[in-house]
Symmetry: C2
Subunit: 127 residues, 2 copies
């Protein structure tokens, strides 16, 4: 998650933005530890590179803990930290919001696509 380095100004605060997969990964780790390949399998579309980068950022920010086991073959588990559980709550809020407004979002898309991406309002002769 992008976070400004020093004390925040209005501009910097605006730059807090999770990566596209951040909240998905956090959600997948809700109830259990998962290994890299398990995460990759369950996310489907995500590339190995994107998953690696997302996990690294989550670990660096303290949301996810990575544990290595020196087994053969080596095993690496990922799990949420306490801080990560806070982020999971936000991911849940976003998901609830989206599901609750699903019909409205889908209707907006139908309108947009039917209009071929033209804006809903065009004032040809402005006041």
């Amino acid at each position: 998650m992008s976070l400004p380095a020093s004390s925040p100004t209005a501009d910097e605060v605006l730059q807090v933005r999770p990566g596209k997969w951040t909240l998905t990964i956090v959600t997948l780790l809700r109830s259990e530890k998962l290994r890299f390949n398990e995460l990759r399998r369950v996310t489907g579309g995500i590339s190995q590179k994107t998953l690696t980068l997302t996990l690294r950022e989550l670990e660096r920010d303290g949301f996810v803990q990575r544990t290595m086991f020196a087994t053969i073959p080596p095993r690496v588990d990922y799990e949420l930290t306490e801080l990560g559980r806070g982020l999971l709550e936000l991911a849940d809020s976003l998901r609830v919001f989206t599901l609750r407004n699903r019909a409205e979002i889908e209707e907006a898309r139908r309108r947009y696509d039917a209009a071929g991406g033209e804006p809903a309002i065009q004032l040809i002769h402005p006041a």
Copy 2:
């Protein structure tokens, strides 16, 4: 924002994920309409292409309304819809969470960087 097309399964629900700039743009439109170039100026680092795609997605989902004025030169305003105000609330929650946990996140980063990206826990001889 990526949203599955039909009724949600567990897998699909996980795929609700805002783009990296979605919440930033929504936040910028909190108190006033803005034009494309104003949005571009205030976001700084965003490319024209990314801003265009983010705005198009927000408009398509019904979070942002675009209004064209046939002035010379043409003018295009972007503003939040009611649905967009709901998304803004979520963006605010995320921002509050991040600011509240700022010290902890920064401490996690210091540890991570000091360890050169090695995991905090390595069990050489697993139980």
